[in-house]
């Protein structure tokens, strides 16, 4: 044997060892083009990706993940730097369907990291993090339970929900806290919300977030069967294993603990108000608006739905200030804010953005629906002038409507479009609504107060 042949044999053996190293790496590795076309892929990737799209032949990473993470394609296309981490450890929730759970070992949550190597190449790392998420969920679950127990509470309702958020069983705690009887079974848990305080999409958001994070905690107005309201705190947790909350009850997918914290809410209301409310008008301030609006847009990204924004701007406020004094201008803003609060739903975020400008974010509402709300406000303003110490102050308002779409990158871009529409309304002579849907929209002759939300 020559030394050369030995060296060749060594290289062959080394090559084989490297191949096996990649075959056995317990994490998915994919190299692809920026369009997702797969150049190299290891077996764990196939193990994880094949069940997602059995028809896809793993030629394209984005195609394989289209059904569970359609945003990845856009994320990569929108990543401008020549190289770098596009996303790191991004969680992809695959399923929360009990039928799929029966397939043992089927992943429920994947994590994906995408690294842009250069203009033409991506590396992806894909891992099954189901167990990790489950452990974290258990920990958070425990924490949330402890919080619920350690907080001084007088009473709570323990409500089992099925995977669609419908109440799966009645018990006496539900009767005590909400006064609903056994016929509440089968209804969605939105039955505990006053009209306009939630949307179908928001109800599913909470279930999805509870599933992904282990729990979801939210405070807000709630309504009893007799129509009286209270300030409620609701924690939703997915049940680790589907089962009955109590012996003999049907199985539940989620457990919701609903507490009446009206007393506690009143005590902390002033602190909350100082932090999140506009001092003049009492509606949300910019901080609260951006928190809530960004959260809603993030939810929209995860679960696409119509989302609209309306910007209102009081007309000629400077002139009103000169004529009636700043107290007059302030009164106009206060009454406009009150009218906005009364016209929009509880689920909408009404905020004063500064000066004479207000913004309203409308979840699960398209531009036609937003346009209708805005038009109703505009019409009511002309019909109901402000009053200050017996003086009547007539004023008008202009509004701009924009609906979120794929071409709009973020909240700032959506704001810019709505503000542009307001400027257009001003240019067109004020006291009008401009923006998306305007050309096609015919305002109803007499809009009913609180028309059904456009879901």
């Amino acid at each position: 044997m020559s030394a050369g042949a030995d060296a060749d044999a060594d290289i062959v053996a080394e090559h084989e060892a490297l191949i096996q190293f990649l075959y056995l790496a317990p994490v998915g590795l994919v190299q692809a083009g920026m369009d997702g076309a797969i150049a190299m892929i290891n077996p764990i990737s196939a193990q994880l990706l094949m069940p997602l799209a059995p028809q896809a032949c793993l030629n394209n990473l984005f195609d394989a993940l289209e059904g569970v993470a359609p945003e990845l394609r856009h994320l990569c296309a929108a990543f401008a730097p020549p190289s770098g981490m596009i996303c790191e450890g991004r969680q992809i929730v695959l399923r929360q369907d009990s039928r799929d759970r029966l397939k043992r070992g089927t992943p429920e949550v994947l994590s994906i990291s995408l690294l842009k190597l250069d203009a033409g190449r991506l590396m992806a790392v894909i891992a099954d993090i189901t167990e990790q998420v489950r452990r974290e969920r258990q920990l958070k679950h425990t924490d949330a339970w402890l919080n619920a127990i350690l907080t001084n509470i007088s009473d709570y309702a323990l409500v089992g929900l099925d995977q669609d958020g419908q109440i799966s069983a009645w018990n006496e705690t539900i009767g005590r806290v909400t006064r609903f009887g056994p016929d509440v079974v089968g209804q969605p848990y939105s039955v505990f919300f006053p009209d306009g305080a939630t949307t179908d999409a928001r109800q599913f958001d909470r279930l999805r977030e509870a599933f992904a994070d282990g729990w979801n905690l939210e405070e807000g107005p709630r309504q009893r069967a007799d129509g009286t309201q209270f300030w409620g705190s609701a924690m939703i947790s997915p049940l680790p294993e589907r089962g009955a909350l109590k012996e003999g009850e049907p199985d539940s997918a989620y457990c919701m603990i609903l507490r009446d914290i009206s007393d506690k809410h009143a005590a902390s209301a002033s602190v909350r108000s100082a932090t999140y409310s506009d001092h003049l008008t009492g509606v949300s301030n910019r901080r609260a608006f951006f928190d809530a609006a960004n959260q809603e847009l993030e939810r929209r990204r995860v679960s696409p739905r119509a989302t609209s924004l309306v910007v209102f701007d009081a007309d000629h406020l400077k002139a009103l200030n000169e004529q009636y004094g700043t107290a007059g201008g302030d009164q106009v803003l206060r009454e406009l804010a009150a009218l906005l609060r009364a016209t929009f739903r509880d689920v909408d975020v009404v905020a004063r953005m500064g000066g004479k400008q207000f913004a309203v974010l409308l979840p699960s509402t398209d531009s036609a629906g937003a346009f209708a709300f805005a038009e109703r406000v505009r019409a009511q303003v002309t019909a109901r002038p402000a009053t200050l110490k017996g003086t009547t102050i007539a004023y008008t308002v202009s509004a701009g409507v924009a609906e979120m779409d794929d071409a709009t990158s973020d909240l700032a871009a959506l704001m810019a479009r709505a503000e542009h529409a307001v400027r257009q309304a001003k240019l067109d002579g004020r006291n009008r609504v401009a923006g998306q849907a305007a050309p096609h929209f015919n305002p109803p002759a007499a809009p009913p107060p609180h028309a059904a939300s456009p879901l």
Binding site: H15, E16, I19, Q20, L22, Y23, L24, P26, I38, M40, I41, N42, P43, I44, S45, A46, Q47, L48, M50, P51, P54, C57, L58, N59, K103, R104, G105, T106
Partner: protein, 129 residues
């Protein structure tokens, strides 16, 4: 030369594979992986070895679904063998699949064979044209 005696699609191939010598398996025009009740690989033919780029000594006596073909460790493949074993039923099914032979996605047909009472179960691999 005569046509090969056994093709990928030959009905009732399970018992016939069991009767073949290693040399006969090597002459087949499709990949053959045989594994026992513990999923330990006990047969690995030449074509499969060439396609995967792994010599038999790296594969034989290794657990199939964790150390040899982790890409098949899901409900589409591994689970079907488990279910057949649990129920003591015959498994002879052909599915479309993608293997990552030498890290390239390769469209294949997999034939999954488990005959109740037989010591060795088989995954057959044929490249799709």
């Amino acid at each position: 030369m005569s046509a090969p005696l056994f093709s990928f699609d030959t009905p009732g191939l399970g018992p016939q594979l069991a009767a073949m010598s290693d040399a006969e398996l090597d002459s087949l025009e499709f990949g053959v992986i045989g594994f026992d009740a513990d999923t330990t690989v006990c047969r690995y033919n030449k074509l499969e070895s060439t396609e995967a780029g792994l010599s038999p000594q790296r594969v034989l006596n290794q657990p199939l679904f964790t150390n040899v073909a982790p890409c098949m460790n899901n409900f589409m493949v591994a689970q079907r063998f488990e279910d057949a074993a649990d129920q003591g039923s015959l498994l002879d099914a052909t599915i479309d699949y993608v293997l990552t032979l030498r890290m390239r996605p390769v469209k294949v047909a997999l034939r999954l064979i488990a005959v109740p009472g037989a010591a060795v179960r088989y995954v057959l691999v044929r490249r799709q044209k």
